[in-house]
Symmetry: C2
Subunit: 139 residues, 2 copies
């Protein structure tokens, strides 16, 4: 696995996502202070453009440089406040989600296992050998 490339791509996705969050923040601020500009920014931002933060900011810079500069300040602030917590949140989140998926799989396998009281419910594709395969690969 090319971890350096994955890290670089992931950072780029994060930057675009924080740009999107900065837009949400500024739109909500504008709804309070300058509703018509808030509506304009919301409409301007509801295109596919927001998928790439830099392309979006370049386009906004042509239309309203002051708003673009404000968004840049807000996304920089968000990055300072939020990113330091992400490594732990992501690692814990994945661990917990993985555990839940494994639990559900085991539950499903247990329910499908032939019961002594109802041999007719035997499910052919879940024989003991395929089950032990699954258990090995979950380590």
């Amino acid at each position: 696995m090319d971890h350096k490339r994955v890290a670089k791509d992931t950072a780029q996705v994060l930057i675009s996502y924080l740009t999107y969050q900065a837009v949400q923040t500024v739109v909500n601020q504008l709804y309070e202070t300058n509703p018509s500009l808030g509506i304009w920014l919301n409409q301007f931002s509801s295109t596919d453009r927001i998928q790439d933060g830099e392309v979006y900011l370049e386009a906004l810079m042509q239309e309203n440089p002051e708003l673009a500069l404000r968004l840049m300040t807000v996304r920089s602030h968000l990055a300072e406040e939020v990113t330091e917590f992400l490594p732990e949140m992501v690692k814990t989140g994945i661990q917990e989600a993985n555990m839940e998926h494994r639990r559900q799989l085991l539950e499903r396998m247990t329910q499908m296992r032939p019961q002594a009281s109802s041999p007719s419910e035997t499910v052919a594709e879940l024989d003991p050998s395929s089950e032990s395969d699954l258990e090995e690969s979950s380590d």
Copy 2:
């Protein structure tokens, strides 16, 4: 700004993105070891489902539990290897991109500024007062 909510949403986006990267990794491994399964996984993963990592894994768990367990291991590994570098990469990336956007804006404003040799190119909306507004908000 609700930083706690932004951090939570961002972590969730990151988890789904690392799940997507895990799929790319496993698809490429399978192309070497079991091409037909690689093609199957690639096709299974090219839907909108992959936008939400957990929904995707639940669906895959129904179709091929062994592959789902393998992806869970790979995304967990990616999270361990990659996330610690992200805070610095994201903060630096935003600073550099912001600087580049500001540089381009200043360049554009300089080119549009009335030249002594060609007073006819004066652009009305970029008078000195609106320029100083922009400089203030870029701090």
